[in-house]
């Protein structure tokens, strides 16, 4: 192995070590939404196995969901992403966060939020959560062309 390859390998190992100590993500959502979002992030950005984990609330009562989330987050710093801010997923996350340090919660998760998370897990948790909330808001936009203007364009085109 030449010196260049060796340096690259060392750098890669350091990078992996740092990344493995970074904040992990858990998506808690209804039905199969969490699994679908995780897979979408995997396809777009690539993912290490433990970066983002999906969890469905399906078939789980409040106690069962809290137990499943507790088990999934382990001891590492984590951001828990939930779909609705008023749902059982968000409730479980908030209940766990009361006694668990290093727990951020982001409700109303969307794909821009998750993609940004993957690339900024090294930020301090409060800063990361604020950033993700902003990214989520910016990630939603919409247009609604009036029918008349479309007709006009069609005629002039």
């Amino acid at each position: 192995m030449n010196a260049f390859v060796s340096r690259c390998a060392a750098r890669q190992n350091t990078w992996k070590r740092i990344m493995s100590e970074n904040i992990r993500g858990l998506i808690v959502a209804h039905s199969s939404l969490a699994a679908g979002m995780t897979e979408a992030v995997r396809q777009i950005a690539g993912l290490e196995d433990d970066v983002l984990q999906p969890l469905s609330n399906e078939g789980k009562g409040p106690a069962g969901l809290i137990s499943a989330v507790t088990e999934a987050v382990g001891d590492a710093p984590v951001v828990i992403f939930t779909d609705l801010s008023s749902g059982s997923c968000a409730f479980a996350a908030r209940k766990i966060a009361i006694d668990r340090p290093q727990t951020g919660i982001v409700c109303g998760v969307n794909l821009p939020v998750l993609l940004d998370f993957v690339f900024h897990r090294d930020l301090p948790l409060p800063e990361l959560v604020d950033r993700l909330v902003d990214k989520g808001r910016v990630g939603i936009c919409g247009t609604c062309a009036e029918e008349d203007s479309r007709v006009d364009r069609a005629l002039s085109g």
Partner: protein, 159 residues
């Protein structure tokens, strides 16, 4: 109409209730009847985070609910009353307080000793017997998770 929905749901204020029922029924107030939550400020705060802006929420003990129930029936506000267990429902119904009322069974999930009756409804033998006793006393009880779902009368749950 004052109480537009009386529901047993372990999760109390959550997505299905807020989006599925509260918004559709144009509810003004959600009343949670639960001794433990009524005594816990932080749990009340947690549940309030799930209340939509169009409505407010009250958390009362079973004793207070029994005392105030008649006045709830006369309110012009549109109310949803939530309890999270058959046991709480049963205490609230003591003395025939709920006779003539309609109770909706929402999410009661799997737990040791409970049997599955619907995808969202698991009941122990004691819970089912207590519900049947309430029906015999004059309470109408049916399971339905969402407004658009089929209503399943308690009497048809047993195979």
């Amino acid at each position: 109409m004052s109480i537009v929905l009386f529901r047993v749901d372990e999760r109390l204020i959550h997505g299905q209730v807020v989006v599925g029922w509260v918004e559709r029924l144009h509810v003004d107030r959600i009343i949670v009847v639960d001794d433990e939550i009524a005594a816990s400020e932080w749990e009340k705060e947690l549940y309030c985070l799930g209340v939509p802006p169009e409505a407010d929420a009250m958390f009362v003990t079973v004793a207070t609910a029994r005392q105030d129930f008649a006045s709830w029936m006369e309110q012009s506000r549109r109310l949803v009353v939530l309890v999270r267990s058959v046991e709480t429902l049963s205490r609230l119904a003591e003395g025939g307080l709920l006779n003539g009322q309609t109770v909706n069974l929402g999410g009661i999930h799997h737990a040791p000793g409970r049997e599955r009756f619907l995808p969202y409804l698991f009941l122990s033998d004691d819970e089912l017997k207590e519900l049947e006793r309430l029906v015999a006393a004059g309470v109408t009880i049916a399971a339905r998770d969402l407004p658009g779902s089929r209503s399943v009368p308690l009497g048809s749950l047993r195979p």
